[in-house]
């Protein structure tokens, strides 16, 4: 067997993405450095070196790369793409920026397999030249399988948090559940420990399942949904106020949008089925998915929809202009939050609070009483 590569790889931060990649790198004997958690400083660094009109995801992830390079990484792994959304060329832009800044780093850009499966596999080989393509692919698939379970555990957290009796208990159980699954190596172990982890989520937390909770679906651009730092951890904020949250996309749904068994995502046929009445073709990015998920959440009896998008995001801007009609037709409260680098949390919170009040009021009205503030809703 050839010697492992001396490369030290890094990736951008995006929610639980690093859980999967840590696992994959370990399997392939690849050295890596994860960027430090995104902070205000990360954003500041990213904003300073990015084109002004680009969207927040480019700026934050550029900040991640720069901080990781400073910490010793010499190879940046970034996803490519070929949709009409600008994300497809972010890797190229970031590569040029780091070059201009004088960083001597290599870039590995993972283009989607539909652009050519062989070159897709070769990209992995670049990371782990000492391993056979066959071995690499097998490990990647197992890592992905494990990541699906990580996502299911996270989904359970979003559902359970609203019912917890002690604030923070579900989150603690979530961290523990991830640690339960983390050491799993073989497929059998993964399946077994994933079950233990999910059980831990349900059984180690004191919950009141009879509690009256609101159900809110979060839709929009994937990075805004997946990275809590840029969305002010909106799921936690809602969950702690007795809202059962569901999210339109999880990490593995984003990695493999065309595969079956999505954790939260929809297949192409489903997107078409739910969105077609309002938007019958793709508009790049997640625009059409946003509409489809909104319609589906209404069918599933949700109380409201929160739509998250980065400022200047074209696909979501299109979705944003269609959503009011969906909201009116299907009689569902909907709040679009546009996030940019300077967005303060206070404005978000005021709107979300008003949205919660509105959803409770509607519920009360449907039950036949005029009570705007429900028992148990608390004071914000």
């Amino acid at each position: 067997m050839a010697k492992p590569s001396e490369r030290v790889i890094t990736i951008p931060r995006m929610g639980t993405l690093q859980l999967m990649l840590e696992d994959m790198f370990a399997r392939l004997d690849v050295k890596y450095i994860m960027p430090p958690p995104s902070t205000a400083k990360t954003l500041e660094v990213g904003v300073r070196h990015s084109p002004e009109f680009s969207c927040l995801p480019l700026k934050v992830t550029l900040g991640n790369f720069i901080e990781a390079i400073e910490a010793g990484a010499d190879t940046c792994l970034m996803a490519g793409g070929c949709g009409p959304c600008r994300f497809g060329y972010y890797a190229q832009v970031q590569k040029e920026i780091t070059k201009d800044l004088g960083y001597d780093v290599d870039w590995i850009v993972l283009e989607p397999p539909k652009k050519g499966f062989i070159s897709f596999l070769r990209t992995f080989k670049k990371m782990a030249p000492h391993r056979s393509i066959r071995y690499i692919w097998r490990q990647v698939l197992i890592s992905f399988e494990k990541a699906r379970h990580y996502d299911s555990i996270e989904k359970r957290l979003l559902h359970n948090r609203a019912y917890e009796l002690e604030v923070g208990a579900s989150e603690k159980a979530y961290t523990e559940a991830i640690d339960i699954l983390r050491p799993a190596v073989s497929k059998e172990e993964i399946a077994e420990l994933a079950e233990v982890a999910l059980k831990h989520m349900d059984e180690s937390v004191a919950m009141d399942k009879t509690k009256d909770v609101l159900k809110v679906g979060i839709v929009g651009e994937f990075f805004m949904l997946l990275e809590p730092v840029v969305n002010f951890d909106i799921e936690k904020w809602l969950g702690e106020r007795g809202v059962m949250v569901d999210r339109a996309v999880y990490t593995t749904d984003w990695i493999a949008p065309s595969l079956a068994n999505q954790v939260g995502g929809l297949s192409k046929e489903e997107v078409s089925k739910y969105a077609d009445k309002y938007l019958s073709h793709t508009v790049g990015g997640d625009g059409q998915q946003t509409i489809a998920h909104t319609v589906l959440y209404v069918e599933e009896g949700f109380d409201g929809i929160v739509h998250l998008m980065p400022f200047t995001c074209m696909p979501e801007t299109i979705a944003k202009s269609i959503l009011p009609k969906v909201s009116k037709d299907l009689d569902i409260p909907l709040l679009t939050l546009v996030v940019d680098e300077q967005t303060g949390k206070a404005g978000f919170i005021t709107r979300l609070e008003a949205m919660l009040d509105m959803m409770w009021a509607r519920r009360a009205a449907k039950a036949g009483h005029d009570d705007w503030i429900p028992a148990g809703a608390g004071t914000h």
Partner: protein, 330 residues
């Protein structure tokens, strides 16, 4: 007399009302915040008490507006709620069948859509200054006309000058151009009102059904020119409630009443003389991570060096958060 106190502390104005048991306004105060919310609330409370003809036994206190949390700590509020809910509540109280609430304040504006007394949709603008009262404030000083006279002058105009309302900067250069080529001042003044209304309807209210009855409230509703511009643009009658400039405070008092009626708790109100307490706000940078959040701390003077710390907030995480204990978990 038993009553409820509502306080709305926004970035431009601070409003206080006392409602009696029948939810009628007994006394109200509208004053400028001038960047000092604590002082504004304390001075407002003192003024409000002077207005009362008989002593009021306060059964509940509500706080709203962008300084609602701070206010809640200072006065001992029972209900701290957002201003959108408060405005909807008050509009419905003034006009039970209201379908649309247009609210324009100094630094923000809102539209709230109601159906059968229940809010079903809303939007809030805090980004574009051209869609708020500060737009008129700024242009009126440019024209050398006190903002109080603005409405009256707008009403004398037969028509409004075309002024671009999309952006405050465009509007200003457009307005100067109109002045220089000789447009009458009253037409420019009314043109500015129309520009603000156009901005409001095209940005904030875009995609919303503006159905009658329409209630127009907030400080800017004092301007008759704005009512006229709204009515012309919407081709519908727009009602301005009697207490249009203190609606947030009324809504917050109503919310306090509702919350208190449901619990056995007594109010946390510190009294009209909470003005006598000295509050100290201080800040420090958290060093726990690279976010370096600025943490704000509110303490009541008690002779000790730090004082009695009542609340703390401002971090991205909840490491330092200290919620005021007075707030009822209704």
């Amino acid at each position: 007399m038993d009553g409820y106190l509502g306080i709305d502390v926004g970035s431009v104005s601070t409003n206080l009302v006392v409602l009696d048991e029948n939810e009628e306004v007994v006394a109200k105060i509208y004053r400028r915040t001038q960047g000092k919310p604590i002082e504004a609330v304390q001075a407002g409370l003192t003024e409000l008490e002077d207005l009362l003809t008989e002593p009021v036994n306060v059964l509940g206190v509500g706080a709203t507006g962008s300084a609602r949390h701070l206010t809640g700590v200072v006065v001992g509020a029972d209900a701290v709620r957002n201003e959108i809910t408060a405005h909807a509540m008050a509009a419905r109280h003034a006009q039970p069948d209201v379908r649309t609430v247009l609210e324009i304040g100094g630094q923000d504006s809102k539209v709230i859509v109601l159906q059968d007394g229940i809010p079903i949709d809303f939007a809030m603008n805090t980004v574009c200054a051209a869609g708020t009262g500060s737009f008129l404030d700024h242009q009126s000083s440019r024209l050398g006309i006190p903002i109080e006279e603005f409405g009256g002058i707008a009403m004398t105009a037969e028509r409004g000058s075309q002024i671009a309302g999309r952006c405050g900067v465009f509007a200003e250069s457009d307005m100067i151009h109109k002045q220089q080529v000789g447009h009458p001042t009253n037409e420019i003044v009314y043109g500015l009102c129309q520009a603000l209304v156009r901005n409001y309807l095209n940005n904030l209210a875009k995609g919303k059904d503006i159905l009658a009855p329409i209630v127009f409230q907030g400080g800017v509703a004092a301007n008759e020119g704005m009512k006229r511009a709204f009515e012309e643009a919407l081709e519908q009658e727009v009602t301005i409630p009697e207490h249009f400039n203190v609606m947030g405070a009324i809504g917050s008092a109503l919310l306090a009443k509702r919350i208190m009626s449901r619990t056995d708790n007594t109010t946390h109100f510190k009294g009209f003389h909470s003005a006598d307490f000295e509050y100290k706000t201080s800040s420090f940078g958290c060093a726990a991570c690279a976010n370096s959040c600025e943490i704000i701390q509110i303490a009541q003077e008690d002779g000790s060096e730090k004082g009695d710390v009542l609340a703390r907030w401002g971090g991205r995480c909840d490491k330092w958060d200290l919620a005021p204990t007075s707030i009822t978990q209704a």
